[in-house]
Symmetry: C2
Subunit: 315 residues, 2 copies
């Protein structure tokens, strides 16, 4: 199926098969990807993007699943992008995340896409954001972006969200580790899931204590919600908190600022990518390969080689 | 203290205070950083670099600590770089990792440095590798690089190691999650720490089962070792396995190949960084800022703005 006017119109109409193909175009970095995204861009900006992150096993997929169900009950169309670090065996996303989406996966109003890292996760975060743009253009009201949240590149995924939920579990240490991992900086609120486990109250308390040290960002107070997601408990409170945060963003006009930052980031990414591709042409790749042995034997240094290559580029 | 010949000589002599300052020069991206690293480069390549990674709470610091002690007993000088994701409160590394290094932190033959992410973790991985170069040049025989291993950027730290150890705990699911997180691809062997906990045998079995699916890389068979690091149990086996892997690398001449790849990666990083700095000068930053509102209101797209900026660069 070529990326033509017909293809674009199908995406904008929300045709599921075409949307899936469009995301593949983006994911596989097809030659038409940039042109496609450029054409879709004027149709984006309507969807509300929610990031769900946290350590492995915290129950992010279950919460995403239940939230999607709740938004469906409000008659909203929901897109889900589950960012899944590499499975080295299949070369694709593992089935785990899909299996747990049973509440919504047969629902025509829900579009689920797992994205796996084949190369760099940096690239994956970019592709996930682009996939969100495709879903946005095709009329999904809510986009849930789920990712394991320890690495900085993975956090880039949720940093591109309007509201970011950090999911933790009661196990001791986890909350502190989460703070270390910088989740604090990106959370709009926290969820302690599996709150029926021992230590839940304590985990909530210790997170709240840490939160008290953090200055409120411009009137928004970070808070903690308890859930037992696999029983559906607390999901309504999560949705309410997302709604509160959305209202807050709208009132304070921070949403536009956030989106402006996201756009600036996107432009920087695009520029970086183009520069990289233009720089590493065959000639300079060959030049690089041919100097490695001289660097290993310390006849020259990586710093001198980089200098030489840059000179070559500027000629 | 200026970065001059005297400074360089002190580093090469292994003067601790100067080494610490040199790492700060690198960490803070001081103007002299590249010149310093370039001068030190011909003195690097002697240290053996060991990466220790795994999920939060797996006991990486304890294993690093005990390994350092063991190498000290073999009269080797040991450098430790603990890469610590951001503490948003202090802006620096949390004390946690230092505290657990009690066995070696007063030993003059051990140099410990915690590095925290202030900006991007990508940047941190680069700085950690540069710090390892400083330690290498100053005569440390072994460099242990410890990092939380879920994000791809953090994995870059250990990918730059000669031997990489992935530390897991017996808790169910962890091993599977580790496979998902791509740790498999970077591990030279696995350690199941806290092996006195329930489920240790099972965890080892399930990892071994997964490993059986993986084709042996060029004669090296991935294996699993059990440790109870806080009691020092199994650390000798870890050291032996590191030694076996080192011998294997030397015999097969893969070490040079690995180091060649590391150098190529380093050159690509240096080029990318220089291009980025040169591109984003004041003029183009201003140009970017001034177009954001037009992108938000969809009079133009990020793709068109990137195009314009690139044209400006090439003029």
């Amino acid at each position: 199926m070529p990326v033509d006017q017909n293809f674009i119109e199908r995406i904008l109409r929300g045709d599921r098969v075409t949307v899936a193909r469009a995301i593949s175009v983006v994911e596989n970095e097809h030659a038409d990807a940039i042109a496609l995204l450029r054409t879709l861009y004027p149709h984006t900006g309507k969807a509300y993007r929610i990031g769900i992150t946290g350590p492995p096993g915290a129950g992010k997929s279950t919460i995403t699943n239940k939230l999607a169900k709740l938004f469906r009950d409000q008659n909203k169309r929901v897109g889900i992008i589950a960012v899944d670090p590499t499975s080295p065996f299949t070369g694709g996303a593992l089935l785990g995340d899909r299996v747990r989406m049973t509440d919504v996966e047969l629902d025509e109003g829900v579009f689920i896409r797992s994205m796996a890292s084949r190369g760099s996760l940096g690239g994956l975060s970019k592709k996930a954001k682009e996939a969100a743009d495709v879903l946005d253009a095709s009329g999904y009201d809510i986009i849930l972006m789920e990712t394991v949240g320890v690495g900085q590149s993975e956090l880039d995924v949720v940093r591109a969200a309007d509201t970011t939920v950090v999911v933790l579990v009661p196990e001791s240490g986890d909350s502190i580790q989460a703070m270390k991992a910088g989740l604090m900086e990106i959370a709009d609120f926290f969820v302690v899931n599996k709150a029926d486990r021992a230590g839940a109250e304590q985990a909530v308390m210790s997170i709240k204590m840490v939160l008290n040290f953090k200055p409120h960002t411009d009137g928004w107070k970070l808070d903690v919600i308890q859930t037992i997601a696999n029983e559906g408990k607390g999901i309504d409170k999560v949705a309410e908190m997302i709604f509160s945060h959305r209202t807050y963003l709208d009132t304070k006009q921070i949403l536009m600022k956030k989106r402006g930052e996201r756009i600036a980031e996107r432009i920087r990414e695009l520029v970086g990518e183009r520069l990289r591709v233009e720089f590493w042409n065959e000639e300079r790749n060959t030049l690089l390969s041919s100097t490695i042995s001289r660097v290993i034997t310390q006849q020259t240094t990586p710093y001198d080689v980089a200098e030489e290559l840059l000179k070559n580029f500027k000629q």
